[in-house]
């Protein structure tokens, strides 16, 4: 897997420059060309917006407080069967609840069970601190989930972060509906809401 570097778009272009650049780019795509022309009124508004995401640290994009981590690994022989059995047993009961920085997390088997896509949305100051928290809080669970992947060194091994960075593919774009809402803040808001409802019941 080739490592890609993050190229953030230029921000000094005017909206008209950007539209011009897109028109040139889509000139030889029949469907794209028409779609682009139809989209231009909406695009003008979007293109006037500031860049919404930034680098999440070592690899990946962050929008507000939420970052993306997208990994594609190769399975060791027989690994897909084992991991599928484990995931079926766990269902959605992951110990990720102990790590209060994970919004969502998916395991997807690709290419006839030869590869695994692991993709999450997470909170945190940086890529490094996110992985440190996981490696400290739930190393055994992670060792089990990742043990069937090629070259996996184990979460207690100091090389684990290099291993992850090697297989991470940075997103080209990343959107979050509520970019400033961390998992912890969402939990707090649910508690506030419950307290407000109880209060209203009392005075109602």
């Amino acid at each position: 897997m080739a490592m890609q570097t993050l190229t953030l778009p230029k921000q000094d272009q005017t909206v008209e420059d950007k539209i011009q650049q897109l028109r040139q780019l889509y000139a030889d795509s029949p469907m794209g060309k028409a779609a682009l022309e139809n989209s231009i009124p909406a695009l003008r508004q979007q293109l006037a917006g500031a860049l919404r995401y930034e680098s999440a640290g070592r690899v990946g994009l962050r929008q507000g407080k939420v970052s993306e981590l997208t990994l594609i690994f190769k399975f060791v022989p027989g690994g897909a069967k084992r991991l599928r059995g484990l995931l079926q047993m766990l269902q959605a009961n992951f110990s990720a609840e102990k790590v209060t920085t994970v919004h969502d997390m998916r395991f997807v088997f690709l290419d006839n069970d030869t590869k695994l896509l692991f993709a999450t949305a997470y909170d945190g100051d940086s890529w490094d601190s996110y992985l440190d928290e996981f490696a400290t809080k739930i190393p055994d669970e992670l060792d089990l989930l990742f043990s069937e992947l090629e070259e996996f060194p184990g979460f207690r091994d100091p090389s684990v972060k290099d291993w992850i960075a090697k297989y991470q593919i940075p997103a080209q774009s990343w959107y979050v509906a509520h970019p400033d809402l961390t998992v912890v803040e969402a939990a707090r808001q649910k508690r506030v809401n419950k307290a407000v409802e109880e209060f209203l019941d009392k005075i109602g």
Partner: protein, 207 residues
């Protein structure tokens, strides 16, 4: 791309928890030492998980749902030159998907170009059912979607009656899906944010 059926991913609900754990030990007998050791350490939690009611369900046509939030994971082959166009379009947009804000059912969304610019991964977390989600997008913002996906092989266009079948055939259902707040939709989050703000203002007034 082999499309997986829901049945292939379905849990072995007909097996008793003890049998499920036994089967898991058997499949992990061939794992690395690291994997076997980790499995033994995890056994107490796995026993609990095996006894719990199933939390993840198939959402409509394809994909897994946890609570009210579903995963939507699509893999496409890109046409020659497509990666360059898409990368530039995404760069120019800079994450400004105001239309997704308006649709109001998308938690997060990523575009990942990989395998030397030959493939695209598109993954979202969304609220609601599969079919209305697709219809919502294809009727509200067909043109921006056509610009984004026109370089995917076989893409028929959002106006095409074949679009739902096309998307379903490129979706790869997850085998594992976790959501921190499974009952919190995008709309409910917005409501909670308003309540939180009002409470803060009230408390400020009380002093």
């Amino acid at each position: 791309m082999v499309t997986q059926t829901a049945a292939a991913n379905g849990p072995e609900q007909d097996l008793a928890p003890e049998q499920q754990l036994q089967k898991l030990r058997e499949v992990y007998a061939g794992a690395s030492e690291l994997g076997r050791a980790a499995l033994e350490k995890m056994m107490p939690e796995l026993e609990v998980a095996a006894r719990l009611a199933q939390k993840a369900t198939i959402n409509g046509r394809i994909g897994i749902r946890s609570g009210k939030v579903s995963e939507f994971t699509l893999m496409f082959k890109l046409k020659p030159g497509g990666a360059n166009r898409l990368r530039t379009l995404l760069g120019v947009l800079g994450g400004n998907f105001q239309k997704a804000d308006e649709v109001g059912s998308v938690h997060d969304m990523r575009f990942v170009i990989f395998d030397n610019d030959t493939r695209l991964l598109f993954a979202t977390a969304y609220d609601g059912e599969w079919d209305p989600y697709i219809v919502d997008f294809s009727t509200k913002i067909p043109d921006p979607l056509d610009a984004l996906f026109c370089d995917c092989e076989g893409y028929p266009g959002m106006h095409s009656p074949k679009i739902a079948d096309y998307l379903a055939s490129h979706q790869v259902q997850a085998d594992g899906w976790y959501v921190a707040s499974p009952n919190l939709t995008v709309a409910e989050t917005k409501r909670l944010e308003k309540i939180g703000k009002a409470v803060n203002e009230l408390l400020d007034k009380v002093g």
